[in-house]
């Protein structure tokens, strides 16, 4: 029976969650990963939402109870029939089967909005983007693909902010890691990453305590009522630094082999670290299960 | 609130109006149609109660099934189409889904008989009554005019069980008083007479009354009975009349096989055999034409009825003559018979 590692990724739409999830899946091995988009658990379609007058950001527009039930069943090794939401039409399609896999990534607006949901995950990430970056991306996407003007995009972002603050951002308090993409002048990709972890649940801090990775800025800050260690990754890594990094964080060779480029941008560094972390959780789980099996026999 | 009319008005028109009134009084009334709502007049109900009206399109079998499902959940269901599509086409569906479980569905079929007119044979139902008669649990009602059709709709809603209501396309004159509650299973004597019983249904009642007027001028008094319920059949009224008149004639805008004529013949044969004749479509298909031309062609006018009455009376007179002549030879015949069966025939009976 498969005992999946559940990963929850919460964040505003347009923050880059889907890209992040796709890249993580590639690193972990596409055949081992099942991605569940929480958009599929919308309880109202586009027409109905308009009639009621709420955005999809509102939990009431989502069937989170069903999501809890499905994740619970998946944890027990049972397959579930999950609804499917079609973004292009705004309607629902045929439900599809989800079979338990070694890694199940749930991404969306409310993957751990309730405590009962939050308990089901082995790793919860709040994925955020700096406002300037988000604005630029959204403008680029919406003006090109959907024909909006810059003013229209700005207006839409403003309208959504209240719902984001009320319904999506509170999940920061439950997240194990907060990842924030920022503008970085030092990197060739112009994007840097802030990796925030709670002071009382440190992973990077523990690994780093023996040495100092001086490319990174380290400081603490308060976030949603918790003291967080923040690691700022703003520079590209060369091959030597990458080797050093993989030594500190025990990044396995097959993960490294997927990073082909000469200069590793902060985003890719973050992916590597995250994938390594996930693999460690997987390894710990497998060991636990072995022990259980041994004891049973 | 009844319809009061002194002009010609079609029974389907009265039905459409009655449905609206019914819908206002009873929230459980649901109406279905099969893309003929403008013709069957269920459109009136549909406009006022769109949530309780289902036009299922050209899918009569589905309409019957949906009616059964609605009735099984407690609704009072009226479903309509042309008579030929609402009976012939969906016989098994009516048999199994409505009649066998005895569900509360009224099939109110319009455009019955050949008076449909120009559309021709494929749209003219000449066997709907006979088909419905052969199904157990089915009540069959044939209103003679708009007044009866209006009241029959209300009677149908109060009646618990499957029912077939036969309505016409053509505007026809009224022959009954307005506002009289419709009694299911009771034939009505509209005109008393002593010489022959004319059993008529539907739009033929008017023609029968016209024929009776004409015959009166010739000294023949016809008794005209409006059989507005074919099943259950009012045998008592028929036999009571026939005992008086000793001759019968049936008229219907329907095949002579299986309809009112057959119902009368069955009853008379078993209870009180008399000289009789059936008038209707004589085992033929309909055809295109103006309704008035078609009625004339299939011999369903008051003239034809009057002629047929005289013919029946003439046939009976001739039969009696032969009987009188043969009575004298009957004693030899009678002895032979007595050897085989025992008992002498009653010579005085005639």
């Amino acid at each position: 029976m498969v005992d999946p590692v559940f990963i929850g990724i919460a964040g505003d739409s347009g923050a880059g969650k889907s890209t992040f999830v796709k890249d993580i899946a590639t690193l972990l091995g596409k055949d081992k990963v099942r991605t569940i988009s929480f958009d599929d658990y919308h309880s109202l379609d586009r027409v109905e939402r308009k009639a009621v007058g709420i955005t999809p950001l509102h939990p009431r527009a989502n069937n989170l109870g069903l999501a809890i039930e499905h994740l619970f069943l998946l944890k027990q090794g049972k397959k579930v029939l999950k609804p499917v939401y079609d973004h292009s039409t705004g309607n629902f399609g045929d439900p599809e089967w989800v079979v338990p896999m070694p890694y199940i990534i749930c991404e969306g607006l409310h993957p751990f909005f309730f405590k009962s949901l939050a308990e089901l995950y082995d790793m919860k990430v709040y994925y955020d983007t700096e406002m300037d970056l988000k604005f630029n991306w959204k403008v680029k996407r919406d003006t090109a693909e959907r024909g909006y003007t810059v003013e229209q995009v700005a207006k839409e972002i403003r309208l959504r902010q209240r719902d984001i603050r009320n319904f999506v951002e509170p999940q920061c308090a439950l997240a194990d890691i907060i990842i924030k993409l920022k503008i970085s002048k030092n990197s060739s990709s112009a994007i840097g990453v802030d990796w925030k972890e709670p002071v009382d649940d440190p992973w990077i801090r523990k690994c780093l305590k023996s040495c100092n990775f001086d490319n990174w800025k380290c400081f603490t800050e308060w976030h949603a009522g918790r003291k967080m260690n923040v690691f700022g990754i703003y520079d590209d890594l060369n091959q030597e630094q990458l080797k050093e990094l993989s030594g500190i964080f025990s990044i396995s060779r097959d993960l490294l082999s997927k990073v082909q480029e000469k200069e590793v941008v902060p985003y890719r560094t973050m992916l590597l670290l995250f994938a390594a972390r996930i693999k460690q959780i997987r390894a710990a789980k497998d060991k636990d299960n072995e022990v259980v099996l041994k004891n049973a026999v | 609130m009844a319809i009061i009319s002194d002009r010609e008005i079609a029974t389907r028109e009265a039905y459409g109006r009655a449905l609206v009134e019914l819908g206002r009084q009873n929230n459980n009334v649901v109406v279905l149609d099969a893309d003929l709502a403008k013709s069957t007049q269920t459109i009136k109900f549909g406009k006022e109660f769109p949530d309780r009206f289902f036009d299922v399109g050209i899918a009569e079998a589905n309409m019957i099934g949906i009616s059964a499902g609605l009735a099984a959940c407690g609704m009072v269901v009226f479903c309509s189409s042309f008579a030929i599509f609402a009976t012939q086409r969906v016989l098994n569906q009516i048999f199994q889904s409505i009649a066998y479980p005895n569900l509360n569905v009224k099939i109110a079929a319009s455009h019955a008989g050949i008076s449909v007119g120009e559309d021709g044979a494929t749209h003219q139902s000449i066997d709907d009554i006979s088909i419905m008669r052969s199904i157990p649990n089915m009540t069959i009602v044939v209103p003679a005019d708009a007044h009866e059709a209006y009241e029959a709709t209300f009677a149908a809603a109060n009646f618990e069980g499957p029912m077939y209501i036969r309505l016409s396309r053509m505007a026809t004159p009224v022959v009954t008083p307005p506002g009289k509650p419709f009694e299911i299973g009771k034939a009505i004597v509209l005109r008393e007479g002593k010489d022959i019983t004319i059993a008529a249904c539907g739009i033929m009642v008017y023609e029968a009354l016209g024929a009776a007027e004409r015959l009166s001028g010739l000294g023949v008094e016809a008794e005209v009975i409006n059989f507005n319920t074919i099943k259950p059949f009012d045998k008592e009224t028929l036999i009571e009349s026939v005992i008086k008149t000793r001759a019968a004639l049936t008229v219907e805008e329907h095949s002579i096989i299986g309809g009112l004529g057959s119902a009368v013949a069955e009853a008379l044969c078993e209870e009180f055999p008399v000289a009789m004749s059936r008038m209707g479509v004589r085992d033929q298909f309909g055809q295109s034409g103006k309704p008035v031309d078609l009625l004339k062609h299939y011999k369903l006018t008051s003239d034809d009825i009057a002629k047929e009455v005289l013919r029946v009376l003439e046939t009976r007179r001739k039969a009696n003559e032969i009987y009188e002549i043969s009575a004298s030879t009957r004693s030899d015949f009678g002895a032979l018979k007595a050897e085989n069966e025992g008992g002498m025939p009653d010579e005085s009976s005639n």
Binding site: S43, D45, N63, L66, K78, K79, V80, L81, P83, N91, F92, D94, P95 | V30, D51, R52, F54, V56, G57, A59, A61, N62, I64, G65, I66, S67, A68, G69, L70, A71, A72, C73, G74, M75, N92, Q93, F95, Q96, S97, Y100, P101, N102
Partner: protein, 293 residues
């Protein structure tokens, strides 16, 4: 107003046991009557078990509760399976099963809604059950009631045109409270469905008529239950294509065209019942025809 509740809520192992009891009773009652349709009755036993012991909000104490879920057995010849399920849920006494198809018995050859509590519609002539289901689902909308309608069809039955009239109308009326389950055992009287009058791709056909299509193994509760529960979040009428084996449970009947409408003789009956006994977990159950629950 009486509150309808599911009578049982057992885990899947319990469902398997129930299905086995029902299968045994199906064969027994057809054998006793020496008349009936074993093949099509056995192929849908798991579907009926899933429905009556997990999904349907019904209660034998209130068979006429206006808020109850409706189940229509459009393939009426599978009546033995329905009767055995109704006996096991408590709608009818077990003694009735001895008199299947006997003169004077309420258990007619095809379900009669006037004679048997728990039967929602008289069926037998194929193709009509889905229309009836659409009517019941429409009534739910008129009454603003939350009950659901489940209709079980045969795959050969999908050759009847009326099924597609009903499918069209369910989609047109945007009925989300109706589920059609097709018992896809691939056989009919005159042979394989694909040889007589091919209905494949059957899933695509339902999809084209505007239904959500879910294909499942009709004998696996792990797939049947989620598929049947999907009605709670679908936005279209749902069609479940359940791939089954005609005659499932009796080895000489499985996938055999001959056993559509033939009753097993005494020796065959014994062989069939022995096959059931050989399954382990039956030993502790009392599965005689008079078993009371």
């Amino acid at each position: 107003m009486p509150f309808s509740r599911i009578v049982y809520k057992p885990e899947y192992e319990e469902l398997e046991k129930k299905a086995l009891i029902i299968r045994k009773n199906v064969i027994k009652m057809i054998g006793k009557a020496q008349s009936g349709h074993p093949g099509g009755s056995l192929s849908c036993v798991d579907i009926l078990t899933a429905l009556y012991f997990r999904i349907l909000r019904i209660s034998p104490k209130y068979p006429k509760d206006p808020e109850r879920d409706r189940f229509v057995l459009s393939k009426g010849h599978a009546a033995p399976a329905l009767y055995a399920t109704l006996a096991e849920t408590g709608f009818i006494p077990y003694e009735w099963l001895d008199d299947l198809r006997k003169f004077g018995s309420p258990l007619q050859g095809h379900p009669d809604m006037k004679k048997v509590p728990g039967v929602e519609m008289s069926t037998g002539s194929l193709g009509q059950g889905l229309s009836v289901g659409v009517g019941m689902a429409l009534a739910a909308k008129i009454f603003e009631s939350g009950y659901r309608v489940f209709v079980l069809l045969g795959d050969g039955e999908c050759q009847e045109g009326q099924v597609w009239e009903a499918a069209m109308s369910a989609s047109h009326y945007k009925l989300t409270n109706i589920v059609a389950i097709v018992d896809r055992n691939r056989l009919q009287i005159d042979g394989c469905t694909e040889d007589v009058m091919g209905i494949d791709p059957i899933g695509a056909k339902w999809k084209a008529f505007g239904w959500t299509v879910i294909e499942v193994d009709g004998h696996d509760f792990l797939e049947l239950i989620p598929a049947l529960e999907a009605i709670s979040y679908t936005s279209k009428p749902t069609a479940i294509i359940a791939n089954t084996v005609k005659g499932k449970g009796v080895c000489f009947m499985e996938n055999n065209v001959d056993w559509h409408g033939k009753a097993p003789k005494q020796d065959q009956l014994e062989e069939a019942l022995k096959g059931f006994d050989e399954i382990e977990f039956m030993e502790s159950e009392d599965v005689s025809l008079d078993s009371k629950n």
